[in-house]
């Protein structure tokens, strides 16, 4: 298609094998955390990935970073399959792919100063000497809106929003091309969320960044994303341009998800008819047969429990609007 792709994920699978037993470590089943997902991210865009807890969003990010090995599939970054390269080559690639985490409390080592935390990437990659590093770190602190004089403070001396800025500064240190953001604002207060989102979007422009933006908050994802993928139980059920997805969702799960989010507008809410999806998210240990969504789907027919629908393009124009549903577009 286009050569603008910076990152492409092809049929990626990650199963966690559960073992039980004392010495024997018998195999006792596997959690299909992600089960054959494919998507791509263009240079300079923000790709949103939404879904409920446990659907495999974080696992996707971790596999892309090769923090854990995939069960199957490929991740192509800049025409390199990152699972095929040696760890030495991967070390170089790591400069270009960075991550920001959800939990501003857990993502910074409590025993390191801010200077050490943000300076660590330089140390690991042997960039500059001590003085140069300090200068760079101070500069980064300024970039993310923190006081460079706080370089010797410890993370607990900062608020959540400020810690998230520290995490962003660390991710920026090596001037990456793409940043995987795993729920970067979920733990923050609304007014602080706005500050971080604004910072991220100005950094994107300034440093020409590409984002994979993972979140469970659809409003936030809509606010930042150019294209969005919706995940359910380890599968991507719909991918489309942001406007298309929010205006004309095709998959019943996307519809349910959108409908479940109350809009901060009382009059609109009074008129709006909501569809509340019933039931709980099933266990990824033994997902439902056929379409994984069928037990909760108001549109489900017999075929849905037998056969698994594949992603198909339903776009009315030249674009791409993929959905994996036999009755895509049918209102729920």
């Amino acid at each position: 298609m286009n050569d603008n792709k910076l990152l492409e994920v092809k049929n990626l699978k990650k199963y966690f094998n559960l073992r039980s037993g004392f010495l024997s470590q018998r195999f006792s089943g596997s959690v299909k955390a992600i089960d054959g997902i494919s998507f791509f991210i263009n240079k300079g865009e923000t790709f949103g990935l939404v879904g409920e807890s446990g659907c495999g969003k974080s696992t996707t990010a971790r596999v892309i970073l090769r923090l854990t090995n995939p069960t199957e599939g490929e991740v192509i970054y800049n025409n390199i399959n990152i699972f095929k390269i040696s760890s030495r080559e991967m070390f170089k690639v790591r400069r270009e792919i960075q991550i920001i985490f959800q939990d501003p409390y857990a993502s910074l080592s409590p025993r390191m100063t801010v200077g050490d935390i943000i300076g660590e990437p330089y140390e690991i990659h042997s960039i500059g000497n001590r003085q140069e590093r300090t200068k760079k770190v101070k500069n980064l602190l300024k970039v993310v809106g923190l006081n460079p004089e706080h370089i010797n403070r410890y993370p607990h001396e900062f608020s959540g929003g400020q810690r998230q800025r520290i995490g962003i500064a660390r991710a920026l240190a090596l001037t990456p091309k793409i940043i995987l953001c795993d729920e970067p604002v979920s733990a923050l207060d609304v007014s602080v969320q706005a500050q971080i989102l604004n910072l991220m979007s100005s950094l994107q422009k300034e440093f020409d960044l590409t984002y994979l933006f993972i979140a469970h908050d659809l409003s936030v994802v809509k606010h930042v994303s150019d294209r969005v993928g919706v995940m359910y139980l380890g599968k991507i059920v719909e991918i489309a341009k942001s406007e298309d997805l929010y205006e004309k969702p095709l998959h019943p799960y996307t519809m349910g998800l959108l409908s479940a989010v109350p809009i901060p507008d009382p009059q609109l809410e009074r008129q709006r008819k909501r569809i509340i999806l019933q039931g709980d998210v099933p266990s990824p240990l033994n997902p439902p047969s056929g379409c994984r969504f069928h037990p909760r789907c108001p549109n489900a027919q017999e075929i849905c429990s037998i056969e698994e629908p594949q992603l198909k393009n339903y776009s009315e124009d030249a674009g791409e609007h993929l959905a994996a549903c036999f009755f895509a577009g049918k209102p729920i």
């Binding site: 559960l18 010495l23 470590q25 089943g29 959690v31 807890s53 446990g54 971790r62 970073l65 923090l67 991967m90 070390f91 790591r94 400069r95 792919i97 960075q98 991550i99 985490f101 959800q102 939990d103 501003p104 409390y105 857990a106 993502s107 080592s109 409590p110 025993r111 390191m112 660590e120 990437p121 690991i124 990659h125 809106g145 923190l146 006081n147 004089e149 706080h150 403070r153 410890y154 607990h156 001396e157 608020s159 959540g160 929003g161 400020q162 995490g167 660390r170 090596l174 979920s186 733990a187 923050l188 207060d189 007014s191 602080v192 500050q195 604004n198 910072l199 266990s283 990824p284 240990l285």
Partner: protein
Amino acid sequence: MHGWIQESGLKKKKLMFEKEKESIGITGEIAEDSYLEKKYSRSSLYKDALKRLRRNKLAMLGLAIVIALILIALFAPLLAPYDPIARIKADSSLAPSSVHLFGTDLLGRDIFSRVIYGSRISIEVGIIAVGISVIIGLFLGALSGYFGNIPDTVIMRIADIFFAFPYILGAIAIMTVLGPGVINIFIAIGILGWASFARIFRSSILTIKNKEYIEAARALGASNYRIITKHIFPNAFAPIIVYATMNIGTAIIVEAALSFLGLGVQPPTAAWGKMLAESLDYIDIAPWMMVFPGLAIVITVLGFVLLGDGLRDAFDPKLR
């Protein structure tokens, strides 16, 4: 499996709880410094712990005992009025008096001086033997916790075997094989103690290993060595310090027991356990021979246990 789902839910909940307890937001420009200064008084885990420790009277007593003991051991030659091994025939089996504060033993050695010198062995054994345990324990615990899988299974099963063995029996067995002597005591006690440290360290690592800051370091390309030494060690150290302090007390008792049984320090070196053993036959006629070294052991062990207990509370106030 189910546990996992719950855990991720929990994580989120915890987050929401702790999150932004004191939120400070800033946009673009820089937050007021004076404000920050007021709100977040500079402190860290260790400083906070020290503060709590200071407030704990029993722990401070323990600390005082430990410090006094170390000073006594260091300055033994200055403090002891007599040579601890010089025999003064004429003075044999004297009761405590102003000349011999704690009396003398059968051979006419000054018990006060011997108790003072005896502290050296106890402290040495306590620190060196526990040091050996800590080093072995940290190394194996790190292997086990960080790499998991086969190293973990093997190391933990070996640790189980060590646990199944009564400490003193194990020490006796090793000493019988190695033969008596101070160095061998270090080795025996050191080898026996590692298992607990390995376990404690392993479990700290397991909790820390999945913290996001470790993932962040790995994503930056940090090596295993760097991750273990820079990120895991500093954060997993508090429980080790606590347990090591308490363990010093245990090591001192074991050393005393070994010396008592004649497996440890050899005469004429002054060691509390040995002194107890020598006093055994004369309890009726010269009880001071037993009382003072006995008290020395009890007070020393108490000191370390109180301090260790206090440290534990100081590091984790929620535990109380």
